[in-house]
Symmetry: C2
Subunit: 527 residues, 2 copies
């Protein structure tokens, strides 16, 4: 006589019962000693009116958007590459309100998609098509809590727009150096969650390097307060770095303490024309040797990108008389009255010209002109869409390998799609290029874009072969999620999944972004 | 009829059996869906000869020290504050050998204490008194694998001595900026595991900020290869930051890819005499304004510390004619030929003198003199032991709060122990002081040191009240482990314990360092 049973258990659990057909009563207590055993992944709940009402009670009806005219802008990314649906956009106004809605969402098995300025480029801020993922907008968490110029620290909430913080720092005669094209609308919470890069990485690092502490609401609603403002603090695991660059998959960053820096007393901006990427690297090397840590920007731009920008960006114009195949934008920031910035950048030009690295150059004479030079570079991201389809990559390689990468990747693309128009541009000083390929003139947009994955695969193979990254600064989101396991160390990938399960056992926190949630993973396996 | 049982389960597990005295056979399969369920904490195994033999087979008898004359130096910290015992010191010679010994240790339930140069100050590198914790020394992992001056990256193994890397960088005309008193013997693996600070944090950050990637052997022996050499890489959770500053409790760092920097073309070092900490901060503010990111060092020293150093450190001497209550050591590093460093530091002195911040100054005229000035500062750590007992703190507060901290902490100590001789010195520019208190002249050493905890508690209360840290750069180890939960956010502390359990479910990896291992924690609770 034998009975077989399979029990799925969620400890701690006591069992008491009776085998059917037997008269033996039994009582078993299952004691599982490891406290990390957590709730299992769940199917996200349907957002019915009963659930919506509960959220309204918590943060007020006016902060809960349900009409599709109101929610649509949150469901669509500006380039129209990613879109989804939602029955509910929440706009909590304080950390405590974020905690309250997260707690309710956790109890009710509601999936949460945190969203800042909705400027992300990999789909991490966009809900899926089910309509059941709640968007949690940080836009009302928009206070600069403190700004301490003496200690060079600001504590700001997640919804503060980057430009707002830049301005506040400037008013206190300080610099918050993060700078990127979307700075007028992107939010600090999003900058942290994506570990934004931008144009000042060379000297100031990525967003990660500017963060002293964070406040975060965990998926179960608990508030973790690590808002320290210290330059040095060796008291245990530095947990903030999991959330920075975590793309909102482990919790919602609600505030951060950020480093401020002395405001440069002078800046010099110049555009140098060079013949080849190799010469651009030689120029970089020379500029770094002359300017040291004062070299705060070194951007590469191809002629094609400059032409696109001149054609489509209002007010953009060529800065040199003759066209050249490549341009470098240099920025030098001087923090000391002991330095003559103008003499410094002129010395760089003269030496580079004599060495044959540089063909021509334009030095900005005014602040306005410096801004115009930068506009040429910043405009390059946006203008490509006016030239038809563009297959994009956001890659990095070791800094000195940029010329070698271009020497492999450009011919490969031209062979795969004859007539394609490559626009590889960006942060050469950081080893990071936006390696974008515009469609051939007159080609069919859809047919060209249909080759996105094929071209990505080809380019990323070169990147990985050179020890590079398939996402230097934009992140993974949904765009590169399925590609990630192939390019990461399997042990690292495994640990990442375990970290995700530790923080978000139910799989409700920005599901399927960055890594596939356990329930989706299981569904795939079952198929 | 009823049967009661308590089962402790380590899933996945199938049970098959028979209730005693009953004739019902049963078969139950326990299926636990959460894959993060792990082995439970174990009692570390006794190191008997059978186990020792297995390790000898893996890495050779000559790399397994068992005689106490050989193992003793590894069990004792240089200030004689921490000591333990071990039956086995392992010296693997490659990452693969580390992996092999870790795998065996995991299977055999052997506890591992990783150790670098044995210069740590909080006991994290020292085994307990049982003799059963194996020391894993990284000293034979001592290769600089690559040094790429063009990309400014070096890949080095954990056992490379810091000074060895400094020298290699210098030979390639580059700088590895980490600098601390123990640099002649501390190892890179230990620098990373403790997130070492030192004297260059002001401009270059802590060790964490110099790391691009790591290679780590996990407690179960798996190798996680994150040895990327990229400036930008946003591809998932940045796991390296858990191990950096993790004090060897989550795994063994076996190698790291580290940033190199342009070598300064000129350095200026000066000692400025100031009357008060407030004036020292004003000087700091002024120097930072003049030198910007070229200000690479700003250290505070009290007269008492200078006197101790002159008295006990060979070759150290006073640099100014008259004594002054406080001194600031300034270092300015110039990376650009466009800057006249001498003029810059003289301008700082002149303006500070006119403003009344500074009484006197000595500017180093030669490299030798600059080194002598630094020796005065570096010597200060070591000389205190010649003046009897010293109760130590390694605290940080927001940078501008250093004067306010001293104004509270100094009188408190003098009231608690009349005649005590405070030696608060260190990295003022980072908000970090080694707030040490030497015993009163002629006092009983043991009686004075018996008050360590009381004074720590008092000083740390002031630190926490000011938003500071009880361990700015030395770490937690065993020294501050039991104090940590009281000063950390409870949610953060809880997550730290879960992270520990995730990586080290058996509790075998540097047990009881940083946080109490689950088995010790349980024992405490059971008592």
């Amino acid at each position: 006589m034998s009975s077989a049973r399979v029990w799925t258990i969620y400890p701690p659990l006591g069992l008491k019962g009776r085998f059917p057909g037997e008269d033996l009563a039994y009582q078993v207590t299952l004691q599982v000693t490891n406290s990390s055993i957590s709730p299992k992944p769940v199917e996200p709940a349907r957002l019915d009116s009963h659930i919506l009402e509960q959220f309204k009670v918590l943060i007020g009806e006016q902060n809960c958007l349900t009409a599709s005219a109101d929610t649509d802008p949150y469901c669509r990314e500006w380039r129209d590459k990613f879109f989804g649906k939602t029955a509910l956009v929440l706009k909590p106004g304080s950390t405590e309100e974020v905690s309250a809605v997260m707690k309710l969402a956790y109890e009710q098995n509601c999936a949460i998609v945190p969203q800042g300025g909705n400027t992300g480029l990999v789909g991490a801020q966009t809900p899926d098509a089910s309509g059941n993922q709640i968007i949690l907008s940080t836009e009302r968490l928009n206070r600069i809590r403190t700004l301490d110029a003496d200690s060079n620290v600001a504590i700001v909430e997640a919804g503060v727009v980057l430009e707002q913080l830049q301005t506040a720092a400037e008013e206190a005669n300080r610099l918050f150096p993060l700078a990127l094209g979307a700075q007028g609308s992107c939010q600090i919470g999003g900058n942290l969650s994506t570990n934004a890069g931008g144009t000042s990485v060379l000297s100031y690092g990525n967003t990660r390097d500017m963060v002293l502490g964070i406040e975060v609401v965990l998926p179960d609603g608990r508030i973790m307060n690590c808002l320290r403002t210290l330059r040095k603090d060796n008291t245990g695991y530095d947990l903030k770095h999991l959330f920075i660059g975590g793309e909102g998959t482990l919790g919602v960053i609600t505030a951060a303490s950020l480093k401020l820096y002395p405001r440069p007393k002078d800046q010099q901006v110049a555009i140098f024309a060079v013949e080849t990427p190799e010469k651009a690297f030689s120029l970089f090397d020379l500029a770094r040797d002359h300017a040291g840590s004062m070299l705060t920007g070194f951007e590469l731009m191809p002629r094609m990108g400059v032409e696109f920008t001149i054609k489509h960006a209002p007010g953009a114009r060529d800065v040199l008389e003759a066209p050249h195949p490549w341009y470098c934008l240099l920025e030098i920031s001087i923090g000391s009255p002991a330095v003559d910035g103008r003499a410094l950048i002129e010395a760089i030009f003269e030496e580079a010209f004599e060495a044959g690295f540089v063909e021509d150059a334009a030095l900005a004479e005014t602040t306005q002109q410096a801004a115009d030079f930068w506009r040429l570079r910043h405009g390059m991201s946006e203008v490509q869409k006016h030239e038809g389809g563009s297959i994009k990559h956001d890659i990095s390689v070791p800094v000195s390998s940029i010329p070698a990468f271009l020497a492999r990747a450009l011919p490969a693309c031209e062979e795969a799609i004859p007539g394609c128009r490559p626009v590889p541009f960006g942060h050469m000083g950081d080893g990071n290029l936006h390696f974008n390929i515009s469609q051939p003139l007159g080609a069919d947009r859809e047919a060209f874009l249909a080759r996105w994955e094929e071209i990505n695969t080809m380019v990323h193979a070169i990147v990985v072969d050179m020890g590079g990254s398939i996402s230097a600064e934009h992140g993974i989101g949904t765009l590169k999620r399925d590609e990630l396991p192939a390019v990461k160390d399997p042990v690292e990938m495994d640990i990442m999944r375990q970290i995700k399960a530790l923080f978000d056992p139910k799989g409700l926190m920005n599901p399927d972004k960055l890594i596939k949630s356990a329930s989706s993973f299981k569904k795939d396996q079952d198929q």
